[in-house]
Symmetry: C2
Subunit: 339 residues, 2 copies
Amino acid sequence: MSADSTRASIRAVASLAGVSPSTVSRALNSPELVNAETRRRVLECAERLGYQPNRAAQSLVLGRTRNVGLIVPDIANPFFAPFIKGVEAYFRDTEYAVFLADTDEDTATEVRLAEAMVERVDGLILCAPRMSGTRLRAIAAKTTVVLANRTSRAAPSILQDFQPGMDQAVAHVHALGHRRCAYLSGPANSWSNRRRRRFLGVACAERGIELVDLGPYEPRFTDGYRAADEVLAAGVSAVFAYNDLVALGVLSRVTARGVPVPNEPGGRGLSIVGFDDIPMASMTNPPLTTVAIPVDAVSRAAAATMHSMLDPGAPKAPPLPPAAELATRLLIRGTTGPV
Amino acid sequence: MSADSTRASIRAVASLAGVSPSTVSRALNSPELVNAETRRRVLECAERLGYQPNRAAQSLVLGRTRNVGLIVPDIANPFFAPFIKGVEAYFRDTEYAVFLADTDEDTATEVRLAEAMVERVDGLILCAPRMSGTRLRAIAAKTTVVLANRTSRAAPSILQDFQPGMDQAVAHVHALGHRRCAYLSGPANSWSNRRRRRFLGVACAERGIELVDLGPYEPRFTDGYRAADEVLAAGVSAVFAYNDLVALGVLSRVTARGVPVPNEPGGRGLSIVGFDDIPMASMTNPPLTTVAIPVDAVSRAAAATMHSMLDPGAPKAPPLPPAAELATRLLIRGTTGPV
DNA sequence: GACGAGTATGAAAACGTTTGCGGAACAGTG
DNA sequence: CACTGTTCCGCAAACGTTTTCATACTCGTC
């Protein structure tokens, strides 16, 4: 029921195999340095004793933990689930284990967690971190970090190219006849939010669409409720939400208020465009038109980058996927229609 | 950009403070053993050098890592998110860090991950593990384990009491006039599934409701699609799904096929009852009637149990919440109606 | 038959802590 | 003053590995 019964040490297998601990270590880590026959014997003895090298001792002498940390703002946000899974899947058949933590979208928690992790990992993957650039640099000084959805000179970052998706979305909405739209802003200190807003602004300006800013809102379903009423009050015919959760909140609330989605011939109604393409987005009624993010590519790229930074000679790890893979794109479904 | 620049060791602060390493260690860990003044000086020096004890060295000598592992079947299953958050929140202001891993609902992966974690943690919280009892015992022999949603003699388990919720659900459906219902089974080797099915069976038998078994299905939205068609073919007026994801899949597919939810006066239609009360459940149209699980209580109890097993003298950790807290209960929303 | 080049192995140091043991200083007691 | 007890602190061992260095042995080669 507990971790007692003194696990077999390297010395135990050494004496069982009639060799020195050094030889056991070599047999395990650098096979080419030991005689094939003794190696076989050592391995057999190790197997017999159920020998597992003590991680702490290895870490101590090697100066590395074989752990990597992964910090995301919110596990419950379905956008991050595939990201997490991607990273975990990458490291699964690696000697690394991954520490996952969730900051609850809170910057202070994020910093605390990052500090706590630094001591236990070789590298830290920060997904959409909100902390200040200074903090980020401080962390990056202490360990290897890779950023996703956030730029910084302190560490390499994996980014999506928001432009194509945003451009397609605006073109789509413009083609449907919308001329006055709203943007539901996400957290103010979020890099994603600023980028999305920027490209949206550019695309709208190019096409002569008037853009109303609302928010900021937390990227949660319930914040979409709040947003919905403001959207309706703002007198726009279409709305771009910071992300799908907010969009779905809007959809739910707007529908409940009897406003048709998408717009109806009579001029009433609202078109909604989300962002992320979370699984739920295709399950609603009507299904959500949204800008899809190549999250698998992003997570794999982040993991691979980390891996190759930690083990420069790693066998896996294509350095970086071609930029094209990271492009966003519009998925037209049921929540957008002609005005 | 990397983890170099040789962090300050305990020796460095010792020599700066003009004491021996032992004294520094004691000043940090057992304040009562050192003179107040020297302690102050040591602490100040440690602070000045930004000293952080080397975790690996501590682990090596203490034989404990101050890490706990948490393994769940699927992060993307929104039922687990609150569970994870609960555990993480509990350990946040503790000296423990938590390793989270996701098995992708795969037993082999689960075993692999558990094995990998055993070397890196002091204890393992297994949420709804699918592995065999034998395996479970093997793991429990190597480290401290706490189970959630799974019984075993090998380790303490935190369970929900499915009975009240199931009973309420059946009573509700019975009151609405349903007499022939289906159960959409979850994974065959899932303890939750067996329990849910059992109590459901009993409650239905008591009230003279005929119960049709369908499945098993994976607990995913898309499996709900598949299930929906079988449900419709089975000629039942109400269905109990293994969990909310499946229920929502059914809802989506059934609605798409033009079958009203809930039942209409004419005799057509279907009533749907889910299980878990995931956030999405209240967001659909109509919102899902479901059996809510006290997931916060379960996760906190699991974490607290682990904590008190690891540090018997822990200051926090109320041993176990009263059993009542762990009872499930029915949430009547929009997907159930009179037949 | 000595020598150089490999090849295979062991001894020991090192990694950074914690902690048992003992010693020094000091105060209190007879 | 001799003693006992306390308080504070340093020495050194120990934790389980990896790796450097040295050594012993085996082969060919001149």
